[in-house]
């Protein structure tokens, strides 16, 4: 085992809150065992911004709410053998997907942005302007779950998934076995 090459693992957070990545740290000292078996490629954990070479496993936190999310997700799909949607946002859109259900006019995106920046009685920015800096990625018409954009091989549910759940799945996938979660670990909250 020790002389076999390390597996490559890439991770990213799209329209997520980084909670799933925080939960990855909840595997506690098992992270030492993980580091024995995997090398991190692109990940917020090491701040590598682009995937450097083909990876065995990609973990995706969050769904797609802007065009950059879509590009990142597609890059992960192209360069990872196994792609895993981690957490409710990646699986079904999560909290950001609430905007899909409130946008029901002919011009849903406008409705959403007006509610967020112009009309709502609760807004905090006094100038009532929709952010339009060219550096900001374009927002999508609605929030998409990962499996609506690319093929997803596995899902780890939870908000966030527990460290135990992430550990269970990761160790299976690294060893080339399919995800096989004990029922007791499956949680959607």
């Amino acid at each position: 085992m020790s002389d076999s090459p390390k597996k490559r693992l890439a991770t990213t957070s799209l329209a997520g809150c980084f909670g799933c990545h925080m939960s990855l740290l909840d595997i506690d000292e098992r992270i030492l065992a993980l580091i024995e078996q995997v090398e991190f490629d692109r990940s917020p954990i090491n701040d590598i911004k682009k995937i450097t070479r083909r990876c065995d496993v990609g973990l995706i936190e969050g769904g797609c709410c802007n065009e950059e999310n879509v590009h990142t997700l597609q890059e992960f799909r192209r360069k990872c053998d196994v792609l895993v949607a981690v957490g409710q946002c990646a699986i079904m859109g999560g909290l950001p997907v609430m905007r899909n259900a409130i946008m029901h006019s002919d011009d849903p995106l406008k409705e959403c942005l007006y509610e967020a920046y112009i009309d709502s009685p609760y807004i905090q920015n006094d100038n009532h302007q929709i952010p339009n800096d060219p550096a900001l990625p374009l927002i999508l018409d609605r929030v998409y779950s990962c499996s609506e954009v690319v093929k997803i091989d596995y899902q780890i549910p939870g908000c966030p998934p527990s460290g135990d759940m992430l550990w269970q799945t990761l160790t299976s996938l690294i060893e080339g076995r399919p995800e096989n979660l004990p029922l007791e670990l499956i949680k959607y909250d």
Partner: protein
């Protein structure tokens, strides 16, 4: 003096005895065998609409909560085929409404979610999320209705009609548009009361009927189905 006729049949090869007129589910419950279910609950008439309780009886698919037992009937319950059917049915309920478990007050106590846990639903599903626009009615001082999570099981309807004698809830619309409505323009204009059995935590299996002021009494992680898989707390035979 009546002597009850005993009926002998099998579930997954195990011999069970029941009484004439009993449903497969009732007889199974009495024998301590769990058949998954959502629209059926103890104390209410069975409705047979969710089909999560589907079993094979002599090779035919049928709702076990409404199908009576028969002498020599061979029932299949925990088979791979039936588990797959049930998985699809439960998935469709998730996709048909708006189920954001992380912000739902029922999470951990919810029977739909618990059924998904029991069925091991973690894989990407083949169905699209419909993301319908559904109303929230918080007009009543003690009760809120978040129909985003309603699975139209009709348990509230039967409880209000048969136990409370009030008819607060009823179905409106058809097909995919079918919804649960109330007997007034909004909840506060109905004769509903927080004391109604229909509003008790046992009736609505999901987080649609909300008792206000009780949210998060039990923290997430310490709730009913955080402790045990649904159906594993079944009564033992004879109870």
């Amino acid at each position: 003096m009546t002597t009850e006729t005993t009926i002998t049949f099998t579930i997954d090869g195990q011999t069970i005895e029941g009484r004439a007129g009993q449903s497969i589910m009732d007889a199974a419950d009495q024998a301590g065998i769990y058949i998954p279910r959502l629209c059926d609950v103890e104390g209410l008439h069975p409705q047979g609409s969710c089909r999560v309780c589907t079993v094979k009886a002599n090779g035919r698919s049928t709702a076990s909560c409404t199908q009576p037992i028969e002498e020599g009937l061979e029932v299949e319950n925990e088979t791979r085929e039936l588990r797959n059917y049930r998985r699809d049915l439960v998935r469709m309920l998730f996709h048909e409404g708006n189920h954001l478990c992380p912000i739902c007050e029922a999470s951990g106590n919810c029977e739909l979610q618990a059924m998904a846990y029991r069925l091991g639903i973690t894989q990407a599903s083949k169905f699209p999320y419909l993301q319908p626009v559904r109303p929230l009615d918080a007009s009543h001082p003690d009760i809120a209705l978040d129909t985003n999570r309603c699975i139209r099981c009709g348990r509230c309807i039967r409880a209000s009609k048969d136990i409370d004698g009030k008819h607060v809830f009823g179905y409106v619309g058809r097909g995919i548009e079918k919804q649960v409505g109330v007997n007034g323009s909004k909840l506060s204009k109905t004769n509903v009361s927080i004391e109604d059995y229909a509003i008790s935590p046992d009736v609505c299996p999901v987080g649609c009927i909300i008792r206000k002021g009780e949210g998060f009494k039990t923290p997430i992680g310490a709730r009913k189905y955080d402790q045990s898989i649904i159906g594993t707390d079944k009564k033992q035979p004879g109870n």
